[in-house]
């Protein structure tokens, strides 16, 4: 099972401040543990939203909104992708992360083909695949 862990932004991350040496050390050690356990597939930090942009969709209209964005708590400042045997294992790993101060870290399971289960009948699956093929052909 594959999971994504979403780390929210903070006023500091939005200001582009680097974390303290202690926090960096603790995070490096934690990342090493994840790698040594064969759990971490990917993980990156994101630049502040001042370097990002949003695109708003309304009918045929596309509006580009430059960063920064407000509501630092709702912004993503980094992510991991983990491979775990169960949701419980992912939670157990997340509990060991060196965060503090009331921050809430979100864990989400990534969809894999089997997750669609019964709802995705062979016919639907085929139709889905045809759509993908068409999309690929149009590229």
């Amino acid at each position: 099972m594959r999971f994504m862990v979403l780390v929210p932004g903070s006023p500091e991350s939005e200001a582009g401040e680097m974390p303290s040496k202690e926090i960096l050390e603790a995070m490096t050690k934690y990342n090493e543990e994840l790698v040594k356990a064969g759990v971490m597939l990917a993980g990156e930090g994101l630049h502040p939203t001042s370097k990002g942009a949003k695109v708003r969709f309304e009918g045929n209209e596309r509006t580009v909104i430059d960063g920064p964005f407000t509501e630092a708590k709702e912004l993503v400042a980094g992510y991991w992708v983990w491979e775990c045997a169960s949701r419980e294992e992912a939670i157990e790993w997340l509990k060991r992360a060196p965060f503090d101060g009331g921050v809430e870290i979100e864990l989400r399971q990534i969809f894999e083909a089997d997750d669609f289960g019964e709802q995705l009948t062979p016919e639907l699956r085929e139709a889905n695949e045809r759509l993908r093929e068409q999309a690929a052909a149009q590229n």
Partner: protein, 419 residues
Amino acid sequence: MAASATHRAIDAVWRIESARLIAGLTRIVRDVSVAEDLGQDALVAALERWPESGIPDNPSAWLMAAAKRRGIDALRRRVTLERKQELIARELEILQQLDQPDLVAQVDDVQDDVLRLVFMTCHPVLSREARVALTLRLLGGLSTPEIARAFLVSEATIAQRIVRAKRTLAEARVPFEVPGRDELADRLSAVLEVIYLVFNEGYAATAGEHWIRPALCEDALRLGRILSALMPCEPEVQGLLALMELQASRLRARVGPHGEPVLLADQDRARWDQLLVQRGLAGLQRAEELSDQLGPYTLQAAIAACHARGRSLEETDWPRIVALYDGLAALTGSPVVELNRAVAVGMAFGPEAGLELIDSLADEPALRGYHLLPSVRGDLLVRLGRLADAREELMHAADLCNNDRERELLLSRAVACGT
């Protein structure tokens, strides 16, 4: 938390901690069998206590302390009950070692212990089957029923295999250590073989009703990733991991809507897992940088990388694949590699050239009864338009095949050749 939820959480902790716990205990008691029993005792203690107390802040320290406490209790009881002097001497020794203050403080030491345990469970004194079962059990954290399900044999068979393996290790006095330079290459290749066996059983099941079993691939990948972190400078460790990541990237495109196999030529490449492709290509690069001469796993990873980079079967660099198979054939002398090379030659230089190579392999004893020989021959004959001959070869391949799904595919391809 409901009891079942706590049990699932304990399972998760066990999966994370068990290899390190058993490795650490093996270093202390110098006997992997005793170490595993103590580890299991600690798990039982956790199952008794944690549903009420909750999972402790430092589960690994808790489990280690519980294992030692149970070990000391059990030994004290036995030492007073039993009269056999020799046994008592050995057990007193273990008792003393367990009684020492916590030796498992340094994370790096624990990592070294895990590596020692890897070399122990993959020791050549054990049969291949025993190595696989013991490695999955002690390093993969899999239970006996899980291993039994994975290999389609009974729990009793696996349980017995593990008990015997541990006994063999004890009788042969296999040391708990990373082998020295002179034997490292051979011993490491035994470790890699075990991991790749597990992967392959998931990637192309040799028996049963399913064509692939992704959970086994994931177990192998996890072991490969752990080993890669333990031995970052060993090119073949990196090569094997790259190979598995690249092959696994195609897993979800490898089965059709009804569970039928989908071969490389027919796979929807948009479904390949790009995260695994990228990890595989990066791993291959690491392996190549570390190698003086590419080893067999790195060569196979390089071949898999040619497929990963190819946008279609036609746009694949087949001449390079042939060259890589040349290198692999020279290194391994394996007839199965020659067979694969013939497929690549057929793609690079036309079916006639491929068929010529296949026919030179026809009398190879190692390929006798191997369904892929007539299967490949059938493919090449189809491309040459010799449909009646192709049909015969594909029917023959289906006869030899033990996997239900693959056999159905071979039969349908035979039928497609007409009569």
